[in-house]
Symmetry: C2
Subunit: 238 residues, 2 copies
DNA sequence: CGGTCTTTTGACTGCAATCAACCAGTGTGG
DNA sequence: CCACACTGGTTGATTGCAGTCAAAAGACCG
């Protein structure tokens, strides 16, 4: 472990799979701590921005987005969550975002009091929060400084485990070529609201990548990358 | 406490003062847990993006920014921190951002092992992280969906405690008028990199607000708001 | 006072937003 | 089975906001 001064259970080790991070290691789930499971269909709202905070959630299966709205209808998707991610935390007594499922999901709910009293849960929570925080930093860079093409390319790279990040392993030498298939599980509108773009711009960028033969569309939300490294070059990170 | 189902020590109560939140209550400091104090001058780097993670920090006095760079030099300031805020957490073994002071600051350092073993510190940490997370959500909305003018206005409102947020108290009836003085403690370049704009655009927006008599410049980083409510109208939140 | 650095202002350009059609897939009912 | 509506996605034409490039105006300092 070169250059690393720490390797304790709390702060080291890659965990979770929030978009914007690319780690793989499993982390503990709320079910281990007595949380109760709840299922949602695709495009269901778990809670609305402004609702009173009652419980804490952990995503167990599927994917889910958190978004905020301005009074005139502008929307910003602030996080796209994957299995293991935490949501439902708030400073005050109201949620600061709306939580809406993207796919069929399974969620663990847990009482706030229970979290407070359990050291194990606390540590779990911290670990998740740090990861999600790093993803938010990365996303701030995307929203503040990247071009439309770079945003879309970065978004695609988010979806590929172990690639594009600081721990990128490069093309797998075991596998012929460096291709990859992606399922977006998001509409163009959701992608646009996540990337701070319009639906038309997202569509145009994707069409352009298609024309440049960087990608191939199997379906509108199923995309094949010819070579992952090519996509990575477009993200602005290299 | 209308509409609030919870009021335990961990997740309720307004805490901290990170930009993007407007709360006031004091929270515990690391000094109480045996952290060591360290002083920095203005524009000093505490650590660089990519440095190995060794310690956790809490800002005690002054203000500090976290930023990320792209290889071509584009910069995004991802957080501007105030007293009480935590920084230096990372998923892996390296910092994901550079931490640089904006003013003379005082920082408490604490060993990661110590945090892991203390329930009190853990709770403290969680509280801070949730607040900073909410600020990042708010900032994602700013970067993804707001106009240049709305960004600058929102930035100014960040700097005013108890105004503009969900718990906005409106103009203080005790005080004649609704004016307010602000110290920015940031150069135009830093503001631009925080708001995802260029230095010229920030300057133009400020000139325009001046022409519209919404603000008056005492110095280039000292600004008087004629009426806070007027500024708030420009943020896009209302 | 000149020299350096930050901020402001001006002229122009370009990227992404807007407005508007069009297209493809899906479901419904006569 | 086809006509129809409806939804989500794509493409085209045009506009406008913020970026870029360039220069002037202040601010600060030895």
């Amino acid at each position: 472990m070169p250059n690393s001064a720490v390797s304790n259970s709390l702060f080291s080790s890659s965990t979770g799979a929030t978009l914007g991070r690319r780690a793989t290691t499993q982390r503990a789930r709320f079910e281990d701590f007595g949380g109760t499971r709840r299922a949602f269909a695709a495009h269901e709202v778990v809670y609305y921005e402004g609702d009173p905070v009652k419980r804490l959630f952990q995503l167990s299966e599927g994917s889910l987005m958190l978004y905020k709205l301005l009074p005139d209808g502008r929307r910003q998707v602030v996080e796209v969550l994957q299995a293991g991610d935490i949501f439902g935390l708030a400073e005050g007594s109201e949620y600061d975002c709306t939580a809406e499922t993207l796919t069929k999901t399974s969620v663990y709910e847990i009482d706030l009091k229970k979290v407070e009293s359990s050291v194990g849960l606390q540590q779990q929570l911290t670990k998740c929060l740090i990861g999600q925080m790093n993803a938010l930093h990365e996303h701030a860079m995307l929203l503040g400084r990247k071009s439309a093409t770079e945003r879309v390319a970065s978004f695609f790279m988010y979806l590929i485990p172990n690639r594009g990040g600081p721990g990128c392993v490069g093309p797998d030498p075991e596998v012929e070529g460096d291709g990859c298939d992606l399922e977006l599980h998001m509409t163009r509108q959701e992608i646009a609201d996540y990337l701070g773009l319009t639906i038309e711009t997202v569509s145009r960028v994707i069409s352009d990548l298609k024309k440049r033969q960087v990608i191939r569309l199997e379906k509108s939300d199923r995309i094949h990358l010819r070579r992952v490294c090519d996509m990575c070059q477009i993200t602005g990170i290299h």
